[in-house]
């Protein structure tokens, strides 16, 4: 794909810092990588956990994601999107790949006997907390059907056809809802950022 326009979207607070850190990571800076980890691991793990469910596998996938960040930081192109989007896309694809591969289901059974681990919700800094609230509020501003379509796809790892099946609506309707839902989310987040 060719380059997109820079500044398609205002990056989230601190986003440019993450981009600067990634540039350092690309040059092999391990201290910068530790900072990226501290900034992103909570969101990555929380996301993976919601998609994959199984805690042990979620840790595995999180580790894969963070190592992928280390390996391929040089491939992050700030002209094509924010550092957050690059990183979360990477995390989400890995998580979805895991559940779609069927590996997740098999291992979930194998580990059913293992006691569930309790994880602390991230000790949020004020900024992070505000960001989380804003996202929740914006998600609430979607219509029920938009929100359902978006979250089933994003957290359930389902394809839009599967989502259509689950919701019992036409495939075209689901596509439209996903797009409209994200547009509304985008505009809501953009206005509040």
């Amino acid at each position: 794909m060719t380059e997109g326009q820079p500044g398609i979207w205002p990056p989230p607070a601190g986003g440019s810092d993450l981009a600067a850190l990634l540039a350092r990571v690309a040059r092999g800076d391990q201290a910068a990588f530790a900072m990226v980890y501290d900034r992103a691991a909570g969101q990555v793990f929380g996301l993976v956990l919601r998609v994959v469910r199984d805690p042990a596998q979620s840790e595995e996938v999180t580790q894969e994601v963070m190592l992928e960040v280390w390996r391929s930081a040089s491939r992050f192109d700030p002209h094509r999107g924010s550092a957050t989007a690059w990183l979360m896309t990477l995390a989400h694809r890995r998580a979805v790949d895991r559940v779609r591969s069927g590996l997740a289901a098999a291992q979930r059974e194998a580990r059913a006997a293992v006691a569930e681990t309790d994880y602390d919700v991230v000790a949020e800094e004020v900024e992070t907390r505000l960001d989380a609230q804003r996202v929740r509020r914006c998600l609430d501003s979607l219509t029920d059907l938009q929100r359902e379509s978006v979250t089933l796809a994003y957290y359930g790892g389902y394809t839009y056809r599967e989502v259509a099946g689950l919701l019992g609506v036409a495939v075209g309707t689901v596509k439209t809802r996903m797009r409209d839902g994200l547009i509304r989310l985008r505009d809501c987040l953009g206005a509040g950022a």
Partner: protein, 249 residues
């Protein structure tokens, strides 16, 4: 609302949510490649989706941080994408009566990783005996400019190299080369434009495959070749190579 036609554009939301099958995604990305506005919209929706995890952050266990940082410290990084790329370097004419061969050039870390995995599995017994050897192999295979090439020998069998100009080295492995009579061995040569250097004897095969062999001192313009020599090795090739790989400069 009813949509009767498949409008690729409406997939932008599903795309941003990774809710497409691989096939649908490939198709949509082709669509994006030819549509600036769609690409911008897809990117903006991707940004919106990427904000969702902010609402569900969960702290992973502390040990994961240590594991990840330790693993990163021993993991080589990928080079950035560049216009000239890793692969596709042209073949150079080489002034030698080489046997007919097929040379395939491939590049990229994925392939190297596959070879790395394959080689390591096939030769684990050997590597565990020789850590330094294993490290020098890993260095070449993981080099940012690592390029893999393979050639078929006219008499049967293949030779595969992973080479790195940065490391001035290559890793050579062969499969199913014709067995030789007692007292004869395959010898490896680096053939430059101006001189030919002996690069050691090919290890004896196990189940038809030879363990990876590191050849250092690689220079731009070199080709790597195998000839059949007496078991003690020769100071210069005594016959035409059974296989030769012209390396990209």
């Amino acid at each position: 609302m009813r949509l009767r036609r498949e409008v690729p554009h409406t997939l932008a939301g599903a795309y941003a949510l990774d809710a497409l099958t691989d096939r649908d995604r490939a198709r949509f990305e082709r669509h994006l490649a030819g549509c600036d506005a769609c690409r911008q919209e897809a990117a903006s929706l991707r940004e919106a989706a990427a904000r969702l995890p902010a609402a569900s952050a969960v702290q992973p266990p502390g040990r994961l941080r240590e594991q990840v940082l330790a693993e990163a410290a021993r993991t080589r990084q990928q080079p950035p994408f560049t216009a000239d790329g890793l692969a596709g370097a042209g073949r150079r004419a080489y002034n030698w009566r080489a046997p007919r061969m097929a040379v395939a050039i491939a590049g990229g870390c994925m392939l190297v990783a596959l070879v790395l995995g394959g080689l390591f599995i096939s030769t684990q017994h050997r590597l565990s005996q020789d850590q330094a050897h294993s490290r020098s192999i890993a260095a070449v295979l993981n080099a940012p400019d690592a390029t893999i090439m393979s050639a078929r020998a006219a008499a049967g069998g293949t030779a595969t190299v992973v080479m790195s100009h940065r490391d001035h080295a290559l890793v050579l492995t062969t499969a199913r080369l014709p067995a030789l009579t007692a007292g004869r061995r395959y010898q490896v040569w680096l053939m430059g434009l101006h001189r030919v250097r002996a690069a050691g004897m090919l290890p004896a095969p196990r189940q038809g495959m030879t363990a990876p062999m590191v050849v250092s001192g690689l220079a731009p313009g070199d080709a790597v070749a195998l000839t059949v020599e007496s078991a003690g090795g020769a100071s210069s090739p005594s016959s035409a190579p059974v296989v030769m790989i012209v390396l990209p400069s």
